[in-house]
């Protein structure tokens, strides 16, 4: 019995940091609607700064003071980030802020290594909390008891802050209805800045408090951020109590999960998140989102098929691309193939995101499933390449059909998180089920057959499939189905009222996107000759999101450009510098600020502005007269 109790307490202690970080993320999201990907980076910075301060200043005051000062220092960094970067992009399309904060995260990963070096750092133990308390023969670290006491205190303090101060009332009001706060004449800018500062402070405090029990290293951010997303989503976005309960739930699941299911403890958390989202789509303590507001900055320029000239140009560009093997060497052709594959992958996500309005955070699942499908067929079943290439993506289709069915029941951030959960589940299975998937060591020897083996032939194959995929998606965009899908995105109310079964339409779109991603994955397997779990991983899903956002969500085929630019840049950077994350992150942040509509979106906006400047403005008032 004592064992279970102590195990429970251990879980509670782990919950403390998780709660601090998650509450910060939740508050920021509640008010600013920003999914702050950099929250993990602030957590990590908190730990690093606290490490430096506590090493520098000795004694209890040095330690505790160091922890608090570290959180404050990082909060100031957060304020700078908010004022310099985020303020510029609040009106950019949804999720664009995510891209910016992702860029920041990349930068911070390299910056901490530059400042603090690559080694894992071991922080001081907390003065007064070094030992353990004996409980019926079980040892409980006294620092755990401190953490267990801390989180209700923080929860209470936050509650008081939100209930008893004018600022807190404003924050709550803003969480419920942003427009209302604007209407109240509140200085929204400073409200956002202060909320961001508080959120970052909590994240950094969470990180700083970990130094007596964890190692400080440069991968802390990614380790925490996914778990924090899970907590926030289970608890309900914007709910502090929810974050608290979910942090405890997740930590206890970990603590007891390892006793019952030692081998699948990571899947467990995602399974629970998936179940919670399916049963209670807005989280345990969240409120159902009010009818989705118009995405700010949503284009009013309707999409149109290519004009004859544009078709000609595209065809010309394609011919030029197809002639690459005449001038380029093998390496360039292989890179070209990889870019073409990512064009398919990004275009498939783009279809889901911009036509369907469904931002998947787990699109790599279907890419990876396609790759594994090919690997199973080619290696295990020994099927010929053409057959594997055609049938392998069916695994992506299958995955998309199953997961998509549940995912499309949700929308917005919850949809994103459920897709993330599914992708993580698939990834965990591939990573841990060594007997079937080879685990981390992957499946090797998936090389193309002779006819496709030469870099030129494989390039043409990839280019051909990419062209077909992009063309197919364009056809679908302008097909009746494409319109039904856009209708569902634009106005669920109206589309339902004209007989459109929105969920079925979105599900179909999800399956189409998943299948095409599967094709990309299938080609990728043959390009690389092997399949590894990281082709199902979060970072690939994020890459795809970045490509789409970079190209421009509000465009028909922006992802094509996004994929080309991103992939070419990242291959080039990785080859040129060890600081590729810093450069890439900086590049993304710059793009976000310079092209808030994405590259293609911005180009189109410029073209439209020119066009409408040329056309005579029509007065809408005069129209009423003529209609009578």
């Amino acid at each position: 019995m004592a064992f279970y109790f102590v195990q429970f307490l251990t879980g509670l202690a782990s919950a403390a940091s998780l709660f601090l970080v998650a509450s910060g993320l939740s508050i920021i999201f509640g008010v600013t609607r920003i999914v702050n990907f950099a929250h993990g980076a602030f957590y990590m910075l908190g730990a690093y700064v606290a490490f430096t301060l506590t090493e520098r200043f000795s004694g209890a005051l040095g330690f505790w003071g160091g922890i608090v000062v570290a959180a404050l220092v990082v909060a100031v960094i957060g304020v700078l980030v908010e004022m310099v970067l985020l303020r510029r992009i609040y009106h950019a399309p949804e999720l664009f802020q995510l891209l910016a904060t992702f860029g920041l995260t990349l930068m911070v990963q390299d910056i901490v290594v530059l400042i603090w070096g690559p080694d894992d750092l071991l922080g001081r133990r907390a003065p007064g909390f070094r030992g353990a308390v004996d409980f019926f023969g079980q040892k409980i670290p006294s620092y755990d008891l401190f953490l267990i006491a801390l989180s209700p205190i923080v929860l209470g303090a936050l509650w008081l802050l939100f209930q008893r101060t004018r600022w807190g009332v404003l924050v709550r009001a803003a969480t419920q209805d942003r427009d209302m706060v604007a209407a109240l004449g509140v200085n929204q800018k400073w409200l956002f800045t202060s909320v961001f500062a508080l959120g970052v402070f909590l994240a950094a405090l969470g990180g700083a408090l970990q130094i007596p029990r964890d190692a400080v290293h440069h991968a802390l951010d990614l380790r925490i951020i996914v778990e924090v997303f899970v907590v926030v989503v289970i608890g309900g976005l914007g709910s502090i109590i929810g974050a608290f309960v979910a942090a405890v739930l997740v930590s206890e699941l970990n603590a007891f999960g390892i006793l019952i299911f030692p081998k699948i403890s990571i899947i467990l958390v995602f399974l629970v998140m998936a179940v919670v989202l399916i049963v209670r789509p807005w989280g345990l303590f969240g409120r159902p989102e009010a009818a989705a507001r118009r995405t700010p900055g949503l284009t009013v320029t309707p999409w149109r098929p290519l004009t004859a000239n544009e078709r000609l140009l595209s065809a010309g560009a394609l011919v030029v691309a197809a002639m690459l093997p005449l001038v380029a060497g093998n390496y360039a052709l292989t890179v070209g193939s990889e870019i073409a594959i990512f064009v398919i992958f990004a275009a498939s996500l783009h279809f889901l995101m911009s036509v369907g309005g469904l931002a998947s955070f787990g699109h790599a699942a279907y890419f990876g499933l396609g790759a594994y499908g090919v690997a199973f067929l080619a290696k295990a079943a020994g099927l010929p390449m053409i057959v594997s290439l055609l049938l392998g993506p069916l695994l992506g289709l299958l995955g998309a059909a199953v997961f998509g069915f549940f995912a499309v029941q949700l929308s917005g951030v919850y949809f994103a998180m459920l897709t993330l959960a599914f992708a993580q589940i698939v990834w965990s299975i591939a990573f841990q089920w060594v007997a079937v998937t080879g685990g981390d060591n992957g499946i090797l020897g998936v090389w193309p057959e002779k006819w496709a083996a030469s870099p030129a032939n494989f390039y043409w194959l990839s280019l051909g499939i990419a062209t077909a995929a992009v063309a197919l998606l364009r056809v679908i965009v302008f097909s009746p189905f494409g319109y039904a899908l856009r209708a569902t995105r634009d106005s669920p109310l109206r589309s339902e009222a004209i007989g459109i079964d929105g969920k079925r339409v979105q599900w179909t779109a999800f399956v189409i996107a998943g299948t095409l991603a599967g094709f990309a994955g299938a080609l990728f397997a043959y390009l690389k000759g092997s399949v590894f779990p990281d082709s199902l991983g979060i970072s690939l899903s994020v890459d795809a999101l970045v490509m789409v956002l970079l190209g421009g969500v509000e465009t028909v085929s922006g992802a094509v450009i996004g994929a080309i630019v991103f992939k070419a840049a990242s291959i080039w950077l990785v080859s040129q510098t060890d600081l590729s994350k810093l450069v890439m992150g900086g590049f993304i942040v710059l793009i976000v600020v310079a092209f808030p509509k994405g590259i293609v979106g911005t180009l189109e906006a410029i073209r439209n502005r020119r066009r409408s400047a040329a056309a005579k403005p029509v007065s809408l008032n005069s129209r009423v007269e003529t209609a009578e």
């Binding site: 064992f3 190692a215 380790r223 403890s265 030029v320 093998n330 685990g439 690389k528 990785v574 994350k581």
Partner: protein, 400 residues
Amino acid sequence: MRRRHLLGAGLAIAVTGMAGGAMAQGEIKIGEINSYSLLPAFTEPYRKGWQLALEEVNAAGGINGKKLVVISKDDGGKPADATTAANELVSSENVVMLTGTFLSNIGLAVSDFANQKKVFFLAAEPLTDAITWSKGNRYTFRLRPSNYMQAAMLVEEAAKLPAKRWATIAPNYEYGQSAVAVFKKLMSEKRPDIQWVDEQWPPQGKIDAGPVVQAVAAANPEAILNVTFGADLIKLVREGNTRGLFKNRAVVSFLTGEPEYLDPLKEETPEGWIVTGYPWYDIKTPDHDKFLKAYQAKFNDYPRLGSIVGYQTIKAAAAILAKANSTDPEKLIAAAQGLTMPSPFGEITFRKIDHQSTLGAYVGRTALKDGKGVMVNSVYRKGADYLPSDAEVEKMRPKQ
């Protein structure tokens, strides 16, 4: 439409990337790939190691009079990026062989690439047994003592312990799983009387150390096998120390004596663990002294195990190239098979049968000295003594 123009532009970048491919006269280029950005703590000392070796090789006249050039690429910790880098090195830099890699999956990806493209590959650090055995191929050689060898060295010591009740803690992925499997197999052969009372499989890089320590303690084992490393190890040790898990229990731990893993533990270093590692401060052989002096003189830093591996990788590459006196992969293979050469750990040989080098490791016990972790009572174990019989190896290696 603009998007296609950019396709052209994107490819143009790629084309320029491959422009500098032509081989300069009197140069031999080899390619090197490692996870520099993902795992700087391990790959920086490794890089210093090979830089030192490169300097020495060229100072001694290069490869039969030609200057040795190493072109190094980062793989970002991703197998797919490693294949891209390998491709760039082979197709556009025209390197004559590939070397490097740290993570097992990347080692395997590059090894498979090498097999497909018929390029000589000298894997430096990956531990997985698959790279020389179940997925071995004729183009791939491996320097560092493998998972199996480390396990066999540890089992030799572990079998002497009186402990009968054993628990294992290993990261839940291929490396952890196969380390535990090999250790269990070899251990059970030597000690049929032992019981395995608990196994913990924390996710790699995400250990929730408190509950894991609690759970292991609850099973009350007499001895523990640990396979976790890096940040996971630090968390595990801290929780274990606080909760008294390691008190009166024997612990056998993979790799923990390597400075990369031992040094960050500082004053938390547990005492008396049986570990494999590299006690650079304690090795008194002329071969090692020479290396140590040169390394410290050049970098003003002490070497890690990665430094040894990096150093020896380039030394081995140079030896193979010199013996082959050709850049033809088949001749390189022929030269490498059975090639014996000196190393800071003494003489090593690349076995003909599975292309594994006989580089060994030090086995000893951990101790705390002046607030730092060290290995004491360490003994060098030659790799050749800890490999299965040729018949067993032949059974595991695919026929080619």
